[in-house]
């Protein structure tokens, strides 16, 4: 019987047949690892177009319910005015800077995150700015009751704070951002009145309850009242009744 030579682990020299076999194994392993790296790497899913969009100084009206938003006056591109979500640095909300400016005109500077039509300003500084003319009003316009399906995301990572800033791998991070006060955004699977982003609110229009953390990152169905404020849709829902799809 032509058996391979017997190798003892501590022996410094390998029998020739074992040696050539192991050289092939070594080459095969290096090749396999290279091939698998390429396979996985090029198959990276596109995380969407959220991105950093540079520094900005914006002037508008501050509101804090359910989450801090800066409403910019109407312009050519935004006949209804433009809502810019606000967040603090890192995984925090802008509340510590914006609450005292509720209902006031303010000048805010920081850097922008942008995904599609959704804009977020990560606040550096913000201060009250005396109004030259009366601010446009952003009174809510009710759009009725809707049942929507989509994902609960944190507005900051979703708009480009992280890429990818959605999904299961990102769930814990989203929870951390939302718990820190960043605005949660419901990303609807189908557009609602032309928009797929809805700022999330509790049924009373206040912040969404902490319990939404359980459903963040998952496909979720929920029923609630949608209202338009400027070009922003706000979804007021009883989140405790939201279901995983």
């Amino acid at each position: 019987m032509n058996e391979p030579s017997f190798f003892v682990g501590y022996a410094a020299s390998l029998p020739a047949d074992t040696k050539s076999f192991l050289l092939k194994v070594a080459a095969g392993w290096v090749f396999l690892m290279g091939a698998l790296a390429l396979t996985l790497s090029v198959a990276t899913d596109d995380p969407g177009d959220g991105h950093f969009a540079g520094d900005a100084v914006l002037t508008g009206l501050v509101t804090n319910a359910p989450y801090p938003v800066l409403f910019l006056p109407p312009d050519a591109g935004h006949p209804l005015g433009h809502a810019v979500l606000l967040a603090g640095d890192g995984k925090t909300g802008a509340q510590s800077q914006s609450l005292s400016l509720e209902g006031k005109r303010a000048k805010a500077s920081g850097y922008m995150l942008k995904r599609g039509e959704l804009d977020m300003l990560v606040l550096g500084a913000v201060s009250a700015e005396p109004a030259a003319e009366p601010s446009a009003s952003f009174n809510p316009a009710p759009l009725g009751r809707w049942r929507v399906t989509g994902e609960i995301c944190d507005g900051k990572c979703y708009t480009g704070g992280m890429r990818p800033g959605t999904g299961l791998a990102h769930k814990a991070c989203a929870n951390l951002c939302i718990a820190g006060g960043a605005p949660p955004v419901f990303v609807s699977a189908a557009p609602v009145e032309g928009s797929i982003f809805l700022l999330m609110a509790g049924p009373d229009g206040g912040p969404a309850p902490q319990g939404i953390a359980d459903l963040a990152g998952l496909p979720v169905q929920v029923e609630g009242d949608i209202e338009r404020r400027g070009d922003l849709l706000v979804l007021k829902a009883d989140w405790a009744r939201a279901k995983e799809e």
Binding site: P4, F7, G9, T44
Partner: protein
């Protein structure tokens, strides 16, 4: 137990082995990072996320390979040198997994007022869900397991913890593997729009599981000799000519024990089949320089008393043999480890 613990002994083969596993890991990580699709002026996804994916998947593949080496070595002895050096592979895998965790902590769980470790353990509490389960815990469990295995990989710990306990702890590598499969399934595969990771994980499972089954089948049946007759505590184990010079034969003793019978210079000796180091199958080893040599890591035992030659102190139980009417018989009552039994002379057959 060994009386001395040497610093890891290096020789050219081991250095080559370490270089190959390190080079494969390095190549993997650099190709992964380099070939992530780009969008505009940068990669499509965040650099730290690319790195956590590169290191995480690399550690997973290395762990899969480590688990394949054991059964491969049982099925084909040419893989044995890889088994002998597997600890280095394990320690490197643990290092790569740590880099994965480092990037996760420094990205997903950083930039928050909450401490990263607290955030890691507390920010997702959806333990009752499948999709959305805090898969980080599974990764953490696997990493902790790998750390324990890496930290106890030296022979000092083998001796300190005793081989059965050490072996039991090191079987934890299977728990780590299962946890890692769960970690990537719940953390990535479930939500991925492409099937590449799922395909690679499936390949891994399809290598690890069948190889273990094949090796187990070989251990259960292959080369195992069952007694042909039994009498007053002795079993007949066959014709003297059926034992091959300098080779072992594994004998199943009624009651579940196994003995290994060796023929050397035309004489037969028998000792316990389980090596005192990590229960390696001595009967699959050979007689080398007059000693039985374990096929797994090369521990040696003298034929006449089952003792490791000085300065080592391992001892194995021995078994008495006798020849009756041309049939070799083995006394199923094991003698205490290290008991000297004169090897059985086979008539007219001295080598």
């Amino acid at each position: 137990m060994s009386v001395t613990y040497l610093a890891i002994g290096w020789n050219r083969n081991k250095i080559f082995y370490d270089c190959v596993i390190a080079a494969a890991a390095l190549l993997y990580v650099s190709l992964f990072i380099r070939f992530v699709p780009r969008a505009g002026d940068g990669p499509m996804i965040d650099e730290p996320i690319i790195r956590m994916r590169a290191y995480g998947s690399c550690a997973f593949l290395m762990l899969s390979a480590i688990l394949c080496i054991g059964p491969l070595a049982r099925l084909d002895a040419r893989w044995l040198p890889l088994l002998y050096n597997r600890r280095h592979f394990g320690v490197l895998t643990c290092g790569v997994a740590l880099l994965h965790a480092y990037h996760v902590l420094g990205w997903y769980f950083a930039y928050s007022p909450t401490d990263p470790f607290v955030a890691l353990l507390s920010s997702n509490q959806s333990f009752a869900r499948v999709a959305g389960f805090p898969f980080e815990w599974l990764g953490l469990f696997a990493l902790a397991m790998l750390l324990v295995l890496a930290a106890t990989s030296h022979d000092f710990w083998l001796s300190f913890l005793t081989p059965p306990l050490w072996k039991a702890i090191h079987m934890g590598v299977y728990a780590a593997y299962v946890a890692v499969i769960g970690h990537i399934a719940l953390g990535s595969m479930l939500a991925a729009r492409n099937g590449a990771l799922a395909m690679i994980a499936t390949l891994s499972v399809c290598a690890v599981v069948p190889l273990h089954l094949l090796a187990a089948r070989k251990s259960l049946s292959g080369g195992l000799f069952r007694a042909t007759a039994q009498r007053q505590g002795w079993i007949a184990i066959g014709d003297p000519q059926s034992f091959i010079e300098d080779r072992g034969t594994v004998i199943e003793i009624p009651g579940g024990e196994r003995a290994a019978v060796f023929r050397h210079t035309g004489k037969l000796s028998a000792m316990a089949n389980a090596c005192a180091h990590q229960n390696g199958p001595l009967g699959e080893g050979r007689v080398y320089n007059g000693c039985v040599t374990c096929p797994w890591h090369g521990f040696e035992y003298r034929l006449e008393d089952g003792c490791a030659p000085a300065p080592f102190t391992e001892k194995l139980a021995t078994y008495a043999l006798r020849l009756e009417n041309g049939v070799v018989w083995l006394d199923t009552a094991a003698r205490p480890p290290g008991t000297r039994i004169e090897p059985l002379e086979l008539p007219g057959d001295a080598a």
